[in-house]
């Protein structure tokens, strides 16, 4: 039996990456009320970097834009077009070494 690969958490995966963080966000949620009524919150599961997290006490989606790996999928994941995603300003964001 081959050895089981050690399961890797998302934090472990993101920890391998190099980022140059911008102080300003490149992701905006257009209307927090839309998220309140959104039943499935697919941004919270479909984003490959876990950028969108539902905060139950605050009743809102918290956006960790600095973890974004810039796939752009969030724009299409949100069924209500509530996510405005732009590529970060020139030179900022993730830099892959292998790609």
């Amino acid at each position: 039996m081959a050895e089981e690969p050690k399961p890797m958490s998302l934090e472990d995966k993101l920890g391998l990456l190099t980022y140059k963080n911008d102080h300003q966000t490149h992701i905006k949620l257009l209307d927090a009320n839309v998220c309140l009524k959104c039943p499935d919150k697919p941004c919270a599961t479909g984003c490959p970097a876990g950028v969108y997290v539902w905060d139950e006490p605050q009743k809102k989606i918290v956006v960790s834009y600095e973890n974004c790996i810039e796939c752009g999928a969030a724009r299409m994941l949100c069924p209500y077009n509530n996510i405005e995603w732009q590529p970060p300003r020139g030179g900022f964001g993730v830099s892959y070494k292998y790609g």
């Binding site: 479909g46 030179g91 830099s95």
Partner: protein
Amino acid sequence: MADEKFDSIVVGAGPAGVSAALTMAQAGLNVALLERGEYAGAKNVQGAVLYSKMLEDVVPEFWKDAPLERAIVEERLWVLTEDSGIQVGYKSAKYNSVPANCYTIIRVEFDKWFAKKAEAAGVTLITGVTVDDVLKKDGDIIGVKTTEGDRLLADVVIACDGANSIISQKAGLHREWKPEEVALGVKEVLFLPREKIEDRFNLEGDQGSTTEMLGDITQGMLGYAFLYTNKESLALGVGCAVDDFQRTRIKPYELLEEIKRHPMIRRLIAGSKTLEYSAHLIPEGGYNSMPPLYTGGMLLAGDAAQMINPTHREGSNLAMASGKLAAETVIEAKKRNNYSARSLGLYRKKLEESFVLKDMDDHKDIEEKVRQNRDIMTIYPKLACESAHEYFIVDGLPKRDHQRRIIRRIRRQRGIFQMIKDFMSLRHAIG
């Protein structure tokens, strides 16, 4: 950079953009190539299989100095259920040619090399700039604006800004993609010593193999997983339709972890160490989702124009070929000094005459057919594996009983008529 004027501005230093810029510079045009990454490749993700023919058309004898990983001598397709798999492969000594039909590459290394070739041909490469708008005059595109407010002017802008193309939207050429028009790919590069790779994949020297995996591995989502061999690493990834991620609420990184644990894959990657995790969109809407390919003063090439053939994991080759044809269109337009939509319409004609639009057209219905009939992603792999199990098992039962069991199982799970319908609809879609 105030209001500088170029013959052409190319946005995006991926395979489409570099091919376009290089081709124009070789014809003596004054070209700027703008890239938002800190270096060419910084934002880019690919499997990555590189096809020789289209690169050779842009850089003859590229294999002499390009950073290639392994020459692909074997291509495998695995149809998997949770615990079993059927393997089909094609290995041929014919593949031992120079150049090989295709190679694996480390995409970031490759993009850096490719962009250097463009610079050597006279292209002005500017990295670390994000274009966020186009400049228009009388309805035609005359340049671009960056996030830092710089304006650059050109006779023609070629949008090679990939799957998340902003400028084609700003130019009014296309709307946002729909979730079913794009796939999300996640990938890891796993370090493994050379000898282990060669042993486990039955390879010699710099030979390599590719493995594509269909079936339960994507948990019912439309897509596939892949495992490619590099010199000292493996590339393991999976791409599925964004509307399926939306619908199933499967987390892409957890899907990748489950794939790593599949009994057919676990042993191949055992003891490896993850070097990098990455994600990128794949515009898989095909022919029917393609935006208009040009307007006055602007052309679109590569992923920005949805030029992906999802049934053959081809994208970078279509990007290179379309980038080159866009450049040739601009070179001819310059001779006429006419950059109107009418003049640039030649681009579409060139694409129609090349394999690019022929292949896109031939495969235009396949995704839609599978989507209408999602079950075939899981039922056929299951049936195939169960049938194989019956066929090979030696348990004292007469062979004729096993054969009957296979037929009964097929009838129960799908029905002969439904199978014929599935087959005909797919055959029609493949053309």
